[in-house]
């Protein structure tokens, strides 16, 4: 048992952060991003998944001055510096909201719902905010 645990500690685990909420209105999108940055400093294999209203987090041209909260969307552009470049967006969520993947802040891989399901099934840890 102890040996098995040791063996598991050796390699990085696959962490997926699932973003399902709009970037503002609740703190969840911001705090998911905090978890991503910390996971990266632990050298884990980190993926970000954007579903439902979570896809709005990646839309270009966000301005938050009028609601007096931090605009954290530029942080997504910095993720590459942390070697985080696995960003997956659900096609159906984009389509329902009329968002074109070309208009997002960062390059992403667009997957359909079934493929997102397969991706999540491969993860060791799934954190959904």
């Amino acid at each position: 048992m102890a040996e098995a645990t040791q063996a598991k500690k050796a390699g990085p685990k696959k962490f997926a952060l699932v973003n399902r909420r709009a970037p503002h209105g609740t703190i969840y999108a911001l705090e998911a991003l905090e978890v991503v940055l910390i996971a990266a400093t632990f050298d884990q294999d980190v993926s970000l998944v954007f579903l439902d209203d979570g896809v709005y987090a990646l839309v270009k041209g966000q301005k938050t001055t009028s609601i007096e909260v931090k605009n954290f969307s530029p942080t997504f552009r910095a993720l590459d510096d942390y070697d985080i470049n696995k960003l997956y967006v659900e096609r159906e969520s984009l389509q329902r909201r009329g968002i074109d993947a070309e208009n997002l802040l960062v390059p992403v891989e667009v997957l359909d719902a079934k493929q997102i399901g397969e991706l999540l099934a491969q993860q060791d840890v799934v954190l959904s905010f």
Partner: protein, 119 residues
């Protein structure tokens, strides 16, 4: 099995916090170990020892403390989320400690399962 738990819902408003506790207790009763519970978002309010529910209600904070003492569970409160809500060392209930998000990733790496409670 080694289990880690993430609690992101606050006490009393959402049942998720109670469900996490009941899950931890049931898992331990089945012979699993719960090494760490990480409190994030409004979940950090769980650590406030000043909470005082009516006498005919369960005491969410006290029963986490008791479970932790009995089974050596590490109850960790996210520092950034805690300070935003006025949760500081001087009001921590027994068994809770304040630390960083690294403790969440760490238990995700070490545990066989990380189970998330909250919305």
């Amino acid at each position: 099995m080694k289990i880690g738990i993430l609690v992101s819902a606050g006490p009393y408003t959402h049942q998720a916090n109670d469900s996490a506790y009941l899950f931890a207790r049931a898992a331990i009763a089945k012979g699993h170990t719960v090494d760490r519970v990480f409190f994030y978002h409004d979940g950090v309010n769980t650590a406030n020892r000043l909470t005082e529910p009516p006498q005919d209600d369960r005491n969410v904070t006290a029963r986490w403390s008791a479970l932790a003492a009995e089974h050596k569970i590490d109850l960790v409160v996210c520092v950034a989320a805690a300070l935003r809500r006025g949760i500081k060392d001087e009001i921590l209930a027994p068994g809770f400690r304040i630390s960083g998000l690294g403790q969440l990733i760490d238990i995700g790496m070490k545990a066989d399962r990380l189970v998330v409670f909250g919305d």
